[in-house]
Amino acid sequence: MPTYNLYMGCSVPANYPNYEAAMTRVANAFGIQLDYLEGVACCGSPNLRAIDHFGWLVVNARTLAIADKTGNDTITPCNGCFGSLKDVYHILVHDADSREAVNKELKKEGLEFKGLSKPRHFVEVLYTDVGMEEIKKKITTPLDGVGISIHYGCHILRPADVTEFKPEILDELLRVTGATVVEYPLWKQCCGATVLPVNEALGIRLARDKLKSMKEAGAEFATVVCPACANQLDLQQLDLKKSYGEDYNLPILFLPQILGLAMGLSEEEVGLSMNRVPAGPILSHLRG
């Protein structure tokens, strides 16, 4: 049973226990052991990187240094954490001066960044380490014919030389469930989450444009792999009725929820009732 460190960050455990549970259950089904990383907290997000580059380096290098001691790779379900960890890992591996400065700080805690534990997104581990053949074997209740759009999220895709993530990973993980991937014009566009503290109306507009683009392309669902994107596309959707007078009624599911349902997990097991836009009607129609 391959073992990985699990780095949750702050948003998923606080806001999306349904994502955390669905991920854990899907991992269990494939014999993946996830050990919560001990003694860690928030990655700081792009906001910390913006105001305090060095503090952001140290905080994330510390997480990676703790992970180094385990000898296992580190999985996160959050694009924000993934972006921070991957970026810091990339900087520290390529820049000896930064690594030295950061390790000087970490030494106070008896830690050292060595770069042994690679930060990875949960969906990439499913795709690469479990593999599509094994995943396919576990699909017992296929979502045949359901049209699903993918919102990848910026920090899993870009900068590509740092994230090393290919969009096909999510495409294939959806197709294996029997669902149809619905392509849409704004697939690369940001959900708007990062700009909310500075200009909320602009952030909401970006979320609305994404939803509109997906809906018009014929999506019945959309999938996300990031809690900040979920805030924008799921939670924010309810407010769009007020701010734009528009009702998209587009259920937003985390990829492990969709995969879990196709693997025979119940709606309760993947925490579907916690998703703000109800997905039940579409699923019961599919299964009825």
């Binding site: 949750m8 702050c10 948003s11 455990p13 606080a14 806001n15 226990p17 349904n18 955390e20 549970a21 854990t24 919560y36 990383l37 001990e38 003694g39 860690v40 907290a41 928030c42 700081g44 997000s45 792009p46 906001n47 910390l48 990187r49 913006a50 105001i51 305090d52 580059h53 060095f54 503090g55 140290v58 905080v59 510390r62 900087i91 820049d95 930064s98 700080e105 805690e109 910026c154 920090h155 895709l157 870009r158 900068p159 590509a160 690369k188 566009q189 940001c190 708007g192 990062t194 700009v195 503290p197 500075v198 200009n199 602009l202 970006l206 925490g271 916690m274």
Partner: protein, 181 residues
């Protein structure tokens, strides 16, 4: 004839010339020496970054203009601009730059310089303060939701103290202690 006497307004396309005496010729070197700033001078102002930016149409200074302003030495205008903080950090500009200028990373560098001068939007400064005080941006409040999902009510492995301590000693701590008490 009377109409030839009328002085026409200057065409609206003309802009005020840049005051050369206010330019900071060191600014480009300052940015070039910061993380991922090396490629700055490779910019040939094709404005592909601006074409890639989903919100450039609401920016007074477009991404390619900000890069040009850095090269010219318009330090004050860049570091005081709202645009550097509006950046979505979506990396679309950087990804498409044919000259491999790391535009988004350079805007992060600008924000760090602005932060060093305490030019930070209040809501972003508040997030920094929150990180110093709580060690995280979100804290579990609805632990019954976690229990409903058969998860531990408290996040396993979570320890916020070391993060608070680290950030107290870096710029975040300095920003957060100034003028907020």
């Amino acid at each position: 004839m009377a109409e030839t006497e009328d002085k026409a307004e200057p065409p609206a396309i003309l802009i005020d010339p840049i005051d050369m005496s206010k330019l900071d010729s060191e600014f480009r070197h300052e940015i070039s020496s910061m993380p991922n700033g090396e490629e700055l001078s490779a910019c040939f102002a094709c404005s592909t970054c601006t074409a890639a930016c989903p919100i450039a149409n609401v920016w007074k200074y477009k991404p390619h203009q900000l890069i040009r302003m850095i090269l010219l030495g318009m330090r004050e205008e860049v570091l005081s601009s709202e645009e550097i903080w509006l950046c979505l950090t979506c990396f679309q500009c950087q990804e498409r730059c044919p000259q491999k200028v790391r535009v988004t990373d350079i805007l992060f560098d600008c924000k760090n310089l602005a932060a060093e001068e305490d030019k930070i939007p209040p809501n972003v400064a508040a997030l920094g303060k929150q990180l110093v005080e709580t060690g995280q941006l979100y804290t579990v409040t609805a632990d019954w939701e976690r229990e409903d999902m058969d998860l531990e009510p408290e996040v396993p492995g979570l320890d916020v103290e070391p993060i608070k301590k680290i950030l107290k000693g870096t710029r975040t701590g300095r920003i957060s202690s100034g003028g907020s008490e």
